[in-house]
Symmetry: C2
Subunit: 356 residues, 2 copies
Amino acid sequence: MTPGAPQRPAPAANEPRRRPTINDVARLANVSKKTVSRVINQSPFVNKDTRERIDTVIKELGYAPDPVARGLASRRSYLVGLIYDNPNPQHVIDTQQGILDVIRGSGLELVIHPCNRRDKDFLNGVRGFIDRQKLAGVILPSSVSEDEDLVAVLREYDTPYVRIASVPLDEPEHSIVTNDSEGARQAAEHLAGLGHRVIAHVSGPDTFRSSHERRSGFIEGLKTAGLELDKKLDLRAGYTFQSGIEAGRRLMAMPARPTAIFCGNDEMAAGVCQAVRETGLEIGKDVSVVGFDDSPLASRMWPALTTVLLPIRASGRMASIRLLGDRLTKEPQEEDRQGEVHPTLVVRASSGPAKT
Amino acid sequence: MTPGAPQRPAPAANEPRRRPTINDVARLANVSKKTVSRVINQSPFVNKDTRERIDTVIKELGYAPDPVARGLASRRSYLVGLIYDNPNPQHVIDTQQGILDVIRGSGLELVIHPCNRRDKDFLNGVRGFIDRQKLAGVILPSSVSEDEDLVAVLREYDTPYVRIASVPLDEPEHSIVTNDSEGARQAAEHLAGLGHRVIAHVSGPDTFRSSHERRSGFIEGLKTAGLELDKKLDLRAGYTFQSGIEAGRRLMAMPARPTAIFCGNDEMAAGVCQAVRETGLEIGKDVSVVGFDDSPLASRMWPALTTVLLPIRASGRMASIRLLGDRLTKEPQEEDRQGEVHPTLVVRASSGPAKT
DNA sequence: GCGAGTATTGACACCGGTATCAATAAGGGA
DNA sequence: TCCCTTATTGATACCGGTGTCAATACTCGC
């Protein structure tokens, strides 16, 4: 190459583009690769002039460190894991979105790992996942956050994690709280305020903490209004549409039929509505129904469903910030630094005044 | 260490577990790491005895190659990318599931990258994603598969990809076809068979190939039944619930009101149903409505929506198999090796005989 | 002007694999 | 029996970063 020729020869035409490496930067900036490494890692032990010179070269070259190589050397990849069970599609999507809201632009990527907790082999699946990739961290939404065996595996492999749960956990610094009970309380107060006195509850499975939280919040709300939850009107179902239909049928068959029904999620609420209609009664007039989640279904049903909005996406953002704080390049929104979200009631047409 | 002492000293108690590496295997099997590498990569140039000896050690140690290190050395990571826009949550989830069905157990992971094609910067986002990770491959579901700029970027970075599209593309070996028009044709024949003569169509945006496919299939189906699609009854909407409501209102306001409406997706169908109800008419009796997708919404609505089921999850499986064939450890199902899926009509209560 | 303390920097090994190519061993034909 | 092939194997460099620790350069106090 003659002197004065361009420092960076154009790659041969058909040759696939080659990313500049730390070595290229070091050579052009006339420093060692270690110093470049210091600059990209924001080490304070670099002379200002040197730093600027290197930064210039980095910009010129469009250099970006290779996450794979970094991962190998530092034993920490740039991958964030999301483990979940029980795909309530909207929850999953919202959580994914929330995480991506935060990590986008920081060179981190989101790797998803759905699993099935009822499958006795699921822990091995997770183990493989954790062990293979040296994840930067893992986020555990409510569908798995209460699984202590799972959390034990994460600890065992020394993988950082944050749990999203309906209620505060032992490790507040590793968790985000969604305060489900608050939402259920609002639902109860809403129905009581409409004049309902015989109010039923259809819950999710007892194996979910959220079922308990929503129930206890509901009971609390009733109490505020001077009401109690009749044990016979407190039904266990399965968080599914079908189980909602069945619970609804049982309620409709009761001699002292409830005039309002609070359901632990929208899926069951939709099922309950179906059962109510089968008996010829009108939703929102004869029987009020309230759900939980504010899933897309809720606003598209007819009549539209009164429900509790749970800010899942925000909880995903908060969890990621907790998990990755220092590895994020962009400063997170102040409101997303909180450790909890609060549900709100969305009133639609499925709940109306009690007939007197 | 005295001779006869255990070859592999137990790690100190608190020391975090250290994965066995290829060096450990090589030492114990008394071969070079390259030979071990050959074994794990199924090279044919290894003596049978040697291979067996190494396999034994691998099993004893529970050794598994480190995907990060492999990625660095081979310039191909073990990550499969899924790029999508416009989250119809169910599509997204189904596609994710389909991919995971296939790659699970092969040491590959799924990295998701939602994007927004209307954002003029979206290509740069994708570029960063592609460039940083040296993806094993990328899957492009229908929401992005027709974006030629995007595909150009993938080619530019020499990243393998498979597109899922409603209609055959130029590169059949890199695509999976969902044959949307077939489903629309069935919908048309179904409605015509019920005696409807004035049938409307509410389509998605013209910018989606799927909108055209569904329309043309629908027209074809009508033709089979000796009908034509009246231009005034062929409305463009936006694939959203809200746009469905608006389209429905326009249709209901027409002097020659249609007795049946085929919608390009379930979201719009739900909106149309709402508009129909606003006029006091009954779905399935006065006006029949058919959707497309068989989203969860369809079966939970009241009355339940007749719709076209698109096997998205299967298309995700097929796409992954196309993409990764040789890198998969488990033999794929024969039916998933096809290059196309076929929609089927799911008849529910929202479509009924035309009133005479 | 000199020794000590602090600020910068780089040489080199290493992370855990893969690629290249030469070296060695085994088999076959003349 | 000897040379040439073919089958196996390993030495070594390399992928693109990070960690350790020593070396060098300054600055300050006396």
